[in-house]
Amino acid sequence: MGFSVRLFILVMGFLVFMIIFELVRKRRFREELSLIWLVIGVGLIFSSFADRIIDPLAFKLGIKYPPALIFLIVFFLLTLTTLYFSIVLSDLKSKNKELIQKIALLEYRVNKLGQAEGRTGSINSGNRDL
């Protein structure tokens, strides 16, 4: 890998890392969820030296075109990340559904209580509600 390519990947990696880091610092991104992205950012920074490992490994695995191995690894990592966020999303979705249902039930109870209160109120103090 040439020097300029290496430098380009390194700069891009740092850029991605800094963007994620700034989002967390400004509280636009929860710390708990940002970790996986920060790890990917660090991975990108180090990937500018990845050919030292990738090339011999690719040949050992019988892959004739080493960059294909990089694509494969990145593909797996991104799949895992998406899977992780899908799990978070589906957890949120079921929690959201349950909350909505509980609010509906609570609203029904509050309304019923309000009606009962209104009735006793109008008995005690004439036509207060009207």
């Binding site: 967390v24 610092r25 509280r27 929860r30 710390e31 708990e32 940002s34 970790l35 920060l38 790890v39 929690k95 349950e98 909350l99 509980k102």
Partner: protein, 234 residues
């Protein structure tokens, strides 16, 4: 109304909650008790109600930090002056609440963290132990005070502090640790420790050491870096 509110987060503690409430009530009759039921699937809520405590049922399990913060919100809205946080599994001895109060007055502190006499009652792996040491060192360097038990759930907080922590992102959802002590120090709150006795967990699981070591170290490093980098926010 009492000036003190004892907040007890509980997740599936039907076995212990009645005993905890009975002892706490008997020893501290001048305090109100709030059980924050963190989406338990057992009878924790019903048992706590029966024991005469106020019970706040969180509809779903949101985790230790989220449950505690719910208690802080309740205390802020209802005008309490002090909050004591205590675990619902009989690990904390309510006799020591008095110690926390005395320490707060003597030291003119805003937060008193109950630190256990006995070390090593928890089984902790080597990686996590190194992490805990390292983070305590950073906290000591930053605050100038040595905190021996930063994850302790046995604390006394003044209104200034719990109303600050009750705001949106000022308290973590998972587990508060040295990062919160550092954040409070940055806000110029006075945080001190007081010795308390804690019994070994009767059921063996801990509310405060639930994170895996590698994740814990990364999570806490990030939290500490963020505390250091973020400016003072009011």
């Amino acid at each position: 109304m009492n000036p003190y509110l004892i907040v007890i987060p509980a997740y599936n503690e039907e076995e212990f909650i009645a005993g905890v409430l009975k002892d706490t009530e008997r020893i501290n009759p001048e305090a109100d008790i709030l059980v924050v039921n963190d989406g338990s699937t057992d009878n924790t809520s019903a048992i706590a109600r029966l024991a005469g405590a106020m019970v706040l049922d969180i509809p779903l399990n949101i985790g230790y930090g989220g449950a505690i913060q719910t208690g802080f919100r309740f205390a802020t809205e209802n005008g309490y002056d002090f909050v004591v946080t205590m675990d619902g599994d009989s690990q904390h001895d309510p006799h020591y609440i008095k110690n926390l109060m005395e320490t707060m007055e003597r030291e003119n502190a805003d937060v008193v963290i109950g630190s256990r006499f006995l070390e090593g009652t928890y089984k902790i792996g080597i990686a996590k132990k190194i992490g805990i040491r390292l983070f305590s060192m950073i906290a000591r360097f930053y605050t100038g005070t040595n905190f021996t038990d930063p994850t302790s759930g046995f604390q006394l907080l003044s209104r200034k502090v719990f109303s600050y922590l009750s705001k949106a992102d000022n308290y973590p959802l998972d587990y508060p640790d040295v990062n919160i002590i550092m954040a409070l120090h940055k806000m110029r709150f006075r945080v001190v420790e007081a010795p308390v006795r804690m019994s070994e967990k009767s059921n063996g699981r801990s509310m405060h050491n639930g994170l895996k070591p590698v994740y814990y170290i990364m999570r806490m490093s990030l939290a500490i870096v963020m505390v250091l980098l973020r400016g003072r926010e009011d």
